[in-house]
Symmetry: C2
Subunit: 554 residues, 2 copies
């Protein structure tokens, strides 16, 4: 699939045009200057981008944001105004030659190897390996972290929602208004789609990414109607084009009357609000083929449902089929069952095939815990609109990706820490995923770059990178090399093309399917194993011993 990229810099720019080389922390530039002053700026450096802990109390993460990083790298170039601004914020002692040098900098000497976007990934395994001249790979840090952190977090959140909701529910992302800023919203729509959502309310994301967009109306629409007398053009053609109903409003009122008289509903529907009926009827006049109504403006069972059913039955008489309802408040499980009951009675009483199966969409502050509660209670909801908690990742709103130097001028580097989670694994590495006999992923193993790849059916010792006692032999039935080269600069080597959004989404689905379900479950999931080869293990601990201050016993 890989093709030689003749013109490596001809990728689209990042989605957000605000991503210029100044999208960075100041210290990247002060470091760049110091590297340049020390004549270290061209030293070949290898950085790993990784996270240390899975989010949401889970045991997996979905990697996303890679395409934006590659586009950022491809477009990375300072213009004169960037450099002019930098000169104003750097100390005045900085030499002009440095700023002239910056104007020449680009990513043509950088290589980026990464796990494919949409993959299931785990702590400590670098998602990306970025190498090239020290100065330039240092300058990529902030943007890469920003682009990967939220993308991976929200994709993982979406995947968790999908997992709990099950595969037969439609999941819609409704978070734009509550997202953290404009592209919090736009990128949430994209990454939730990758994580398994079916669509979004966000029109801009629909246009940008080709994601299906969905939506009906709000309470304000209902409130804006004062009564049927407002509606002047009341005619509606039959769906087959044969003739026309001159007073569709009257027809909905007729059907409301019929419902009110129906024995099964006796006394229940008498308070149906007339302005709500007018609003629904008007909406149906606008969208006779796509009639879906928000039924909780006044009272779901006493007003919204009879009004909706009246309009749906009137449409039916003209040959149309209503889509269904949306519930946005109250006890969603209970109400959905009540609604289904009414639909069911109407299907029988009035002989309207399919009425029972009208779609019920629910929204209102839904999160993973809500989905679990709905599952327990039983419900009749077909589609869920999920916003705030999904897009802001309220149960953990940040993923802590870091970007660590692991090798410079072919010398391995290691960041020590009293906190074992924060110790980084040195050296330029490869990563392989080993699969077991049942086809599930068993363990990820990191090797030094020059070590041979694990082989199928050949026993290999997988060691926990830091805990002596944790080790096991594995004879994989399948070995997957995780890194591909997505950015080769002008190195002449082959770079993988960036996959289409649908392919990334499919990859996410397939990868989740290849994980044992106990790693994925919400309650007390089993940690997936991440290991190193014996050779890398020994090297890490040799280096650790030599770098740590003498006399510490930890």
């Amino acid at each position: 699939m890989a093709t030689l990229r003749e013109e490596p810099l001809q990728l689209p720019k990042p989605t957000n045009p605000m991503l210029t080389p100044l999208f960075s922390d100041l210290y990247q530039f002060t470091m760049a200057y110091a590297y340049w002053k020390a004549n270290k700026h061209l030293d070949h450096a290898v950085f790993d981008l990784l996270f240390r802990k899975n989010p949401f109390g889970g045991e997996y993460t979905v990697f996303a944001g890679l395409e934006e990083c590659i586009r950022f790298a491809a477009s990375f170039r300072f213009d004169d105004s960037d450099v002019a601004y930098l000169q104003t914020v750097m100390p005045s002692t900085c030499e002009d030659e440095f700023f002239e040098y910056l104007k020449l900098v680009d990513c043509s000497s950088v290589e980026i190897h990464a796990i494919p976007e949409g993959s299931v990934v785990f702590p400590r395994v670098p998602l990306m390996r970025v190498e090239g001249p020290l100065l330039i790979v240092q300058l990529l840090e902030t943007a890469f972290l920003n682009l990967v952190n939220y993308a991976s977090l929200v994709t993982t959140n979406a995947a968790r929602h999908r997992q709990v909701a099950g595969n037969n529910k439609m999941l819609l992302e409704f978070g734009l208004r509550r997202a953290q800023g404009p592209d919090g919203g736009i990128s949430a729509s994209k990454y939730c789609y990758i994580g398994g959502f079916d669509g979004t309310s966000n029109v801009d994301a629909g246009r940008r990414f080709g994601i299906p967009v969905r939506g009906t109306h709000s309470h304000a629409f209902v409130s804006s109607f004062m009564g049927a007398e407002e509606i002047h053009d009341r005619s509606l053609c039959y769906s087959n084009g044969d003739g026309k109903c001159d007073d569709f409003i009257g027809l909905t009122q007729y059907w409301l009357g019929k419902l009110q008289e129906t024995e099964a509903f006796l006394g229940l529907f008498m308070e149906a609000n007339q302005s709500e009926l007018a609003a629904f009827a008007s909406y149906a006049l606008s969208f006779p083929t796509k009639f879906q109504a928000l039924v909780d403006t006044f009272d779901v069972m006493r007003s919204g449902i009879p009004n909706f059913c009246a309009v749906a039955l009137a449409l039916h008489k003209l040959g149309y089929k209503a889509l269904g309802i949306r519930l946005d408040s109250g006890d969603l499980a209970y109400l959905s069952k009540q609604c289904r009951r009414v639909f069911s009675i109407i299907e029988k009483e009035f002989g309207v095939p399919g009425f029972r199966s009208l779609s019920i969409t629910a929204s209102n502050d839904i999160k993973v815990e809500t989905l679990e509660a709905l599952n327990k209670q039983g419900h009749e909801i077909d589609a869920l609109g999920i916003g705030t908690h999904l897009v802001t990742c309220s149960s953990q709103p940040a993923l802590g990706c870091v970007y660590k130097l692991v090798e410079i001028k072919s010398q391995p580097r290691m960041k020590l820490s009293e906190d074992i989670e924060k110790v980084t694994i040195p050296c330029k590495k490869e990563v392989y995923r080993l699969y077991g006999v049942e086809g599930f992923a068993l363990v990820d193993i990191m090797t030094g770059i020059d070590e041979p790849a694990p082989k199928i059916h050949e026993r290999i010792l997988c060691r926990h990178p830091f805990i002596e006692s944790k080790r096991a032999y594995v004879a994989p039935t399948k070995v997957e090399k995780l890194y591909k080269c997505y950015w080769a600069g002008k190195s002449g080597i082959t770079a993988e093309p960036l996959p289409a959004l649908e392919d990334v989404r499919s990859r996410c689905k397939a990868q989740l399917a290849a994980m044992r379900s106990d790693h994925l479950r919400v309650l007390n999931p089993t940690p997936y194993k991440v290991s190193v080869t014996l050779q890398l293990y020994d090297f890490i601990h040799y280096l650790w011993l030599n770098e740590a201050p003498v006399g510490e016993l930890r």
Copy 2:
């Protein structure tokens, strides 16, 4: 201060170029179509934008995001490609005339009244009143909510950090890498500055908004050095230009030796890491006037501090003054005190005036609770770099602003709900803040648009909008009308110019100073009172009675 805006549409575009009219939920467009079909699209509508609950368990919120909303309104116009995309996602039954109509839509008939940006605000009081033709004010909803929700949330979060940190600490926003997407980061920098931060690490935000930018170096910088032998150009001029030190590296090594021999430090500094010393010395060669070092790469007290002090003393000998250190791990309170002790000893031992007062910056996952703990323990930190928790607002990552129809064609509208918090206050309204004898704000009061304003020293009955028993007479010493008109379209009325960022920041500070401290405190704050006039109260309850389904006793 207000000036007549001759060309009301000549404002800058929103900061994020992704904010087009398609930055919206699909249902806004389906509703727009239905309004148009029902010939209601020009009905004069009034929407309130408000929130229902203060974030972070507090009792106040700082309003922000207004300027972006006004810029969005000013630039609101569909281009052909926007409309062409919309046609592909709307049902094919939609009439072409509607799409032609959309191309003519702009905000020239819209008026936006709002509380000034940077004001302290409270639940239920509309932050913005948006009025104009129903179709267009409906289409503004999603973008306005997106632009206000996160902006107000993160500004409030910053204000809370400032409040707990006190006014004499420097607060720096370091959140770009962990923010929810690119402009989560860029707007966080802006709004944290409004909320009381002193600067940011974010270079792009520095350029865009003129915010001070700050930063030193990372662990990678230290790790990139293998030893002093790497550094070839070792000379450094004296600060006064009189001569030059040929071997600054040697000078730092000399001073490290002196420190190691100093009786007060005997045995403590023997493990100072040589590559760290080389990194610090190299950084000092690059920034002799701005030397600040991250001291926790190996071990703060045994390596980072002696190395920093050696370099600082060497700089001192050449007439320079180091800035200080940054701590990014460990027990920040304890370490800061230990560092200060060392600085203090050095000031005395080596007669270096000011060495004791070198700046200590702390970072590493700081949040409000960390600041409180630091205060309790006592510490020597001068500046705090705060990232993840600040910008993602981890303790509550979304503010729930809503946008509610309160009047249409001069008819008041009210959204009822079983949840009293969700009931909206109908009618086009004015809002006043009433101040007491001590100069503090006492209560906000909403009135119908035609009611007279409360008068100084005149008793007025302030009623809780929904709870009968909560009411009190107030005789204000000062009455502040909260709304100003920030967007008058082409109405010919006078629109307030948008204040500069520094003015918004000053307003926030002044507004917080005008609040009683018990409303602002973190633990168990007192709710601030929000009320309505007797006339509005009676009207709300008259309307409620008439809109609610008969027979409900709530």
